[in-house]
Amino acid sequence: MTTGMQPAFSTAAPIKAAMDPIFRQIRDLVYKVSGIYQLDEKLYLLADGCGRRIKQLNIKSPREYWDLLTAHSSREAELRQLLNEITIGETCLFRSQPQLDALHKIVLPEIVVEKTKQVTKRLRIWSAGCSTGEESYTLAMNMLEQSERLLKGWTVEILATDLNDRSLEAAKAGIYGDYALRATTDYFKRKYFVTLDEKKLQVKPEVKKLITFSRLNLQDDSKMLFMKGMDIVFCCNVLIYFDGPSKSKVIDHFFSNLNLGGYFFLGTSESLMKLNDQFHLVHFPGAIAYWKPSLQSSKL
């Protein structure tokens, strides 16, 4: 709003007004560079992250920090540091219920119909940048839940890749504490985990069986060419660390590796912005995805 008019529904609560306006500027910069959007109500997380960096760097004010974020010599490195700060502790199992609802209420039924004519009933899901495995196991458990319903008679393969060997080792072990399990219901805990000790649960072998963990650099073009035949790709809070051109390239790989009618999911506060015009942006209740239209259903 550039006029003096007051917008209908914002800037009302004094708590919002008290926030240094520089954090909105930083929010916009972070979005422009990474596609991560911090909602007003989560702006304090961004402010906290900046605060930690300000302390570490021993500088005086958010304004000075802004200068550092925008100075040609330091911007790239500092933005990466800041992104690390704001995505830290983000991961847990069952992180986004609306995403999972969209998956089993809308996406899976659609793909199952789409593929009924094929001889082999096989569903391939790729968890790209799987980190310590939370997302991969969440997907596996949700697919197991459908194995007597929608996916009866189907083979489900989940491919989970990451660049970091240490993360992959942790992912393979599948051991999680309270924090990672904060959104997991007792139903899932009882059905798919064994108790190791008071504070740790481990994923059961039947869940692990669905997943293949392997090391992959998303920027390795020759390997990316061989990831064909995916129905669904999840890549949450990974692309934010890539610069524009590498991001475009990786997204193009995802697009060509997806089957027609396949879906690509990002993190819940993440956007592809305008880096790819082949995917259709689609909205589900509470969730956003990118769709590779099938030939017969390119129109809604």
């Binding site: 917008p7 209908a8 959007y37 109500e41 506060s269 912005m273 942006l281 689609v282 589900f284 129109k299």
Partner: protein, 302 residues
């Protein structure tokens, strides 16, 4: 729709007993508020608001709500108007007039759910038109607020038929208009149109009410109807729908309404839909609080 159904709808709408009455201060107040902000005469607004007890009381209540976090609640209408800002006074005014026009008893739909969607859609319409520099934000706001007025008509003129449609929609998780068509053979678009015509609303608003699910069929004001259509869809996938899970996939940029808007507004190309979605999420809580503040009282009154 057959002629017979159209006749039935007209007949029943005619018979709705509580003829929605528009408070006397509505039009002059709206005119005052539609002036450029720097030209609005605050004293005049305060005077007009004070004339209508319901609106005055609701302004005071909203201004005292925790939403504004004031240490001391405003005691005068003037204080309330200043606290609220003109835009909120307008919102309260429009919703009060509509809310008072219909009873809150025997609703097939939960009235607060209905108002959350209507106010939410009005807010999205305004924000959307702000993205398209050439669009008229106030008109869009009004259009968003009124688009689903046919549901109110359904509650009053077709209570049993509509209750059945709502039940079907909830059971099958399908959009309400789809369930209406399947069970009643017509939708809130047709019943809303009948009321809009009875009220002699401006033709643009009649088009919005009649065609917000089929903008390509509207007989005028197509860009406005298309804008409401897209805003309505956005509301329903971002927590401002009708309070149940609608199993639908929405592809806004490949919707006929998008093509209509594209022809009218070149700015549309530049709209980042994902960022716009996130920005809307920020306003959802406020819409809910506003509805609770305004209608918590309306429910008590009846």
């Amino acid at each position: 729709m057959t002629t017979a159904i159209a006749d039935t709808i007209r007949e029943r709408v005619k018979r709705i007993e509580t003829t929605p009455s528009i408070p006397a201060v509505f039009l002059p107040l709206l005119e005052l508020l539609n002036a450029p902000p720097e030209d609005v005469k605050l004293e005049e607004v305060v005077k007009l608001v004070s004339y209508d007890n319901t609106i005055a009381a609701q302004c005071l209540r909203v201004a005292s709500s925790p939403l504004f976090g004031l240490a001391k609640s405003p005691e005068s209408i003037k204080g309330a108007v200043i606290t609220l800002g003109l835009r909120r006074v307008e919102t309260i005014l429009l919703t009060c007039c509509l809310g008072n026009a219909f009873p809150t008893k025997n609703w097939t739909l939960d009235p607060s759910v209905f108002w959350r969607h209507s106010l939410g859609c009005a807010m999205v319409c305004r924000k959307f038109s702000e993205k398209l520099a050439a669009a008229d934000g106030d008109k869009a706001y009004m259009a968003g607020l009124l688009h689903d007025i046919g549901f109110m008509v359904n509650c009053m003129a077709f209570p049993e038929e509509f209750a059945n449609a709502v039940k079907q929609a909830l059971q099958n998780q399908v959009p309400l208009d789809q369930a209406e068509r399947a069970t009643m053979g017509f939708t809130h678009c047709e019943t809303g149109r009948a009321l809009a015509e009875k009220w002699h609303l401006a033709s643009d608003m009649v088009q919005v009410i009649a065609h917000h699910h089929t903008p390509e069929l509207s007989e005028g004001a197509q860009p406005l109807v298309a804008l409401v259509h897209l805003s309505d869809l956005l509301c329903r996938v971002r927590g401002m729908g009708y309070g149940y899970y609608e199993c639908h996939k929405v592809d806004l940029a490949h919707n006929p309404a998008w093509t209509i808007l594209q022809k009218e507004y070149r700015d549309l190309e530049r709209v980042d839909l994902v960022r716009f979605t996130f920005e809307l999420d920020e306003a959802v809580g406020e819409v809910f609080e506003l509805v609770a503040t305004i209608f918590g009282a309306a429910a008590a009154r009846n």
